[in-house]
Symmetry: C2
Subunit: 636 residues, 2 copies
């Protein structure tokens, strides 16, 4: 049995047992991590971090990210005790539907959840994004990330850590729960690298706590050393015992299954608690947190008295509607552009006008046309609006989520086909409704000679299948401007899909009309009988119009954003796509998703070919003649 | 001007200029890498590697992987000179449609292309897979991977390298083209880590060649040291000058654009070549390669005389049809299983019978139910059939592609939602038609309390949008057996999608019928008028039957594999899904792809919820009452 030399360790065990009770009550969850990590969680929040439970949105607060999100029972226990907006009942509803305490942390700053986590490794990259954003906003705060073995094994954390070291993010501190256990057993079955040396090689400070189960002084000292780092991020290896104190301590079995009544009672006895009581917070523990909260509020008031209130949020919001008006002035002109080039024109204007923006690319700035400034963020200067991410698509998109949580708009770019490298953070952005703009160029087989490894065919379907994400494929300058207006206007992520090749301007395109997702861009003379509607996007809109002109009796609908069209009322939908008219989709990619709107589809359901664009067009039947032939044979 | 001290450097410059001529003629491609890497390519193939151009499939050959696939002009030049099945005309057709020389290497062992590459970092992980496969087959050969900065920045290469170090893959040698340049500029703008120390930390040998542009003796010596490694993989940092010899040498501009006539002529003069000649191979160079080929054939004949021919390929093929018969005996029994549990039964049988199989999971063996043996591959023993991949989904799937290239069937597993971590190698498997089996469990929101970060909704649509990939979602034991039979039978990758929750056996399911992708599992009495067809998959099939029984006049079609159904003739399609009957899909996920088959869809087009399965079913309307209500209101 453990004896209490001070209140601290009673508090820690209270946190441990609250977490264990939560998992037991839910009959589902992860007790192993909370038992091991309660001491570091306690030290961090109660002894070190800057925050105010009464104003969780205080901009100057330190940020906490639980990269090993499965351990969230511990975080909810902590936030409850600190006086965030959780009741004991919320803890009892752990993992129940519509509760404040879901199975993994879900982005909700009001509740102290700075970002959604769960998929391993993401949190470290999110933390890197926050650290960059924090430096850009000159908030002089710290970002603390807690993580486990899994987070460090994932490639995304390596990518992000390499960039963090490069940028010298001294405001970032990673607390690594070094418990030597993963789900399948001991880490030694797969993970025997010298992680300390690896992080040293990445230009990080590496510190160690030998006994993270009980030595809270050591944890405190090491975090304080990390806080004082001048030019490097810090990782602290904290040796803990998974399931500390329990019968399954040190075993992988305690990771993801409730202890159960008997084992939990034994554990409570071990910690000197009444084994018959659950969700127990003793009076002295409660008093401690009441005092702590007072202290935090006092500090906050002092801080605000000494610093002018920051109105960044309002400033950004105001600016965005102005910026939308400004970029709406960018219209089709004499010259034809590739849509990636029009994108550059629009993006430059946005970057000029918007203070809180960070544009970047995964080493394809020239190809993605995302260079918008002459200066780049570097370890000595975070005021520029451009960041070179390196060839790190996964980290880039996870970092973007962290940046977005600071109300800075991240614009990140790569080739469309490489969403396969970063779909996890794109999904997380959609789930959490981060306003991230993905600039995805080289949007079809028509990119040419680089061949099928670089030619997307399924990518648009993939993006459109993700809830909350707007996938926008504009066809000319007007629609590119409209695409960015939409992306800025909605509090969700947007993927703007752009061509490598030059596309003709279309007279009838309209940045306003496109906000309904789809609209008519061509129609045969009104006295002709309408026999066919071709629904096209991006590079296929002008082709559809050429086809329509040739065959007559045809309407062309540009549908740059299916998701927005789906949101329109049935009257508008019927106006654009009347039920009784045959419809055909035309898009140089997978047809799977187009049957939702069209009776017939014309697309590409196989991988691409390396070759000249003209040969590729011919091979895949994307020519006037081939399409007209298809229509004549199939439809009429 | 360079002077030739020996034939070697003339050959190297011949390779350089062939590559430059190829890019110039195509007016597209990457001259920078070939100019820098020709010396190491030459040393590797001409001085070190074991192969036979007359039998490119020789099992004991060394393998070469071009992870920086954009430099393939150099590889094609090399293979042409070595006497592989390329003509000078093939080089002249570089990057032209249907040529043997596409813009990035495309898997074709007959042509010396051991694996498709292009997306950066993949090749390193592919090489790790080959090295594992090679040890498993006890071939005693080497795997050589050439890579650039981008490959090392990508997280997938870190994950794979960490596992390679753990497994002590001493047969793996990575030649790192350390040229300090990426597309966006110098690597120092994003990549300043100490990569040497990082690889040391990963348990690799690290060697260095200071002058890779001309010092071929040093390259040779270092590779020979690497070959002798007893227990570690080796990376050789080879300092080169991108675009060596050209006017843009050392600049990022030479990476991805043709030099053009003038610059190429200057370069030819610099190398002492006739500037007016293109695609030039001098007589002494040709003689060298004629001799080399004779020598290689001789070595091959000697080797075969001393070693019995290996009939692995035939053995595997024979076995597979036997195994399909064997697992067909696994049928529905009294007990109900989760399909992940049925999968375990089938997979165990396959692993017992198939010699050339490697099963593994990304640290979720217990959850994925992929534990099939009591022994695991480890650094001292590669004969077991199970490999713990660690929490490295991306590397796992890339490694699987490398394993597959050795005609070993890799079975890799994780949660369905985590395809977002490894979609790049899944796409590459589909593109190259690798027979990889993905075991993807926890296949819907019904996994319960872990919540939306772990609950797939869009994943099935994503997989179905990828060409050449079979996505199979079985509903009970019969169909699980059938799913594996399909996966074993087709030379393409298959994703087998499995439930966490227990599902009832269905009397009418059939492992044979399901091979047509979709078939009837329930039909109201024949004298009733058929009014509705419900198309369902996996966990929704039994629910569909319950609905049909309640409302009458309804057929239920189980459609475990849309891709196979699409391949059936129109007669069968009309038989199963007659045009004039109303159809409705029922699947607990994104509806986007279902309009292809159904007039109405019933699914989940939003992210999930953390909660008890019963609450989730109720919330998303997956109950008998809710579905019947929908049918009555919407359809009739």
């Amino acid at each position: 049995m453990e004896t209490y030399t001070n209140l601290d360790s009673k508090i820690i065990n209270t946190m441990r047992l609250l977490s264990v009770d939560m998992v037991d009550k839910a009959n589902s969850g992860h007790p192993g991590m909370p038992l091991g990590c309660a001491p570091m969680m306690f030290v961090l929040w109660c002894k070190i971090m800057k925050f105010n439970p009464e104003n969780p949105l205080w901009e100057y607060r330190d940020r906490f990210v639980l990269s090993n999100g499965h351990g969230c029972a511990l975080l909810y226990s902590m936030l409850f005790l600190l006086g965030y907006n959780y009741s004991l009942n919320d803890l009892k509803n752990f993992r129940q539907i519509h509760s404040k305490t879901p199975g993994h942390p879900e982005y909700n700053k009001e509740l102290g959840i700075e970002i959604s986590t769960g998929p391993l490794g993401q949190g470290i990259a999110n933390g890197v994004g926050m650290a960059i954003a924090s430096k850009k906003k000159q908030l002089n705060n710290n970002i603390y990330v807690m993580c486990g073995d899994g987070c460090l094994m994932e490639g995304v954390s390596y990518e992000a850590a390499s960039l963090a070291g490069h940028l010298g993010l001294n405001n970032l501190v990673v607390l690594y729960d070094d418990n030597g256990i993963t789900i399948d057993g001991k880490t030694e079955i797969t993970f025997t690298e010298d992680t300390r040396t690896r992080f040293l090689a990445l230009n990080w400070n590496v510190l160690q706590v030998q006994n993270g189960d009980t030595n809270i002084d050591d944890i405190y000292e090491k975090i304080m050393i990390a806080k004082k780092s001048l030019d490097k991020p810090t990782i602290i290896f904290i040796k803990t015992t998974i399931g500390y104190g329990s019968i399954a301590a040190g075993k992988s079995s305690v990771h993801g299954a409730p202890l159960g009544q008997t084992n939990t009672q034994t554990l409570k006895e071990y910690f000197g608690f009444d084994k018959t009581q659950s969700f127990f917070v003793d009076t002295d523990v409660q008093t401690y947190f009441d005092e702590l909260k007072k202290h935090k509020v006092l500090f906050y008031n002092d801080f605000n008295a000494n610093n002018k209130a920051n109105n960044n949020a309002t400033r950004t919001a105001n600016n965005i509607s102005n910026i939308i008006n400004e970029i709406d002035k960018i219209k089709n002109q004499e010259k034809d552009y590739a849509t990636r080039e029009s994108s550059n024109i629009v993006l430059k204007k946005i970057a000029e006008l918007l203070p809180d923006i960070i544009v970047g690319s995964a080493d394809l700035a020239e190809s993605n046309k995302t260079m918008v400034t002459n200066t780049n963020i570097n370890k000595n200067d975070f005021t520029p609006k451009y960041l070179h991410y390196g060839i790190r698509e996964h980290a880039m998109c996870s970092i973007a989520n962290g940046i977005s949580s600071y109300d800075i708009i991240p614009v990140v770019s790569t080739f469309l086909v490489f969403i396969t490298y970063c779909l996890a953070p794109i999904r997380m952005a959609a789930l959490s409704k981060h306003r991230v703009i993905y600039v995805l160029t080289h949007d079809s087989v028509f990119l040419g000679e680089d061949g099928p490894t670089h030619q997307p065919v399924e990518s648009l379907t993939i993006l459109r299948s993700i809830p909350n994400l707007l996938t926008i494929r504009p066809c000319d300058v007007n629609e590119v401007s409209g695409a960015y207006q939409i992306a800025l206007d909605y509090n969700v992520p947007s993927a703007i899909i752009l061509s490598r090749q030059t596309l003709p301007n279309i007279e009838s395109t309209c940045s306003l009309k496109m906000k309904k997702g789809a609209y008519i861009v061509y129609e045969t003379n009104i006295d002709e009988k309408l026999e066919l509607i071709i629904i096209a996007t991006g590079s296929e809109v002008h082709l559809a119009i050429d086809v329509a002109k040739k065959i007559g009796n045809t309407r062309v609908v540009s549908m740059p954003c299916c998701e927005l069209f789906d949101e329109q009322d049935s009257f508008y939908k019927e106006e654009i796509l009347p039920k009784n008219i045959t419809k055909m989709s035309l898009e140089a990619g997978s047809t799977l998703g187009w049957y939702k709107y069209a009776d017939y589809t014309y697309g590409i359901d196989q991988f691409g070919e390396s070759g000249k664009i003209a040969d590729i067009k011919n091979h895949f039947g994307f020519s006037l003649d081939k399409i007209i032939e298809f229509i004549k044979i199939t439809l009429f």
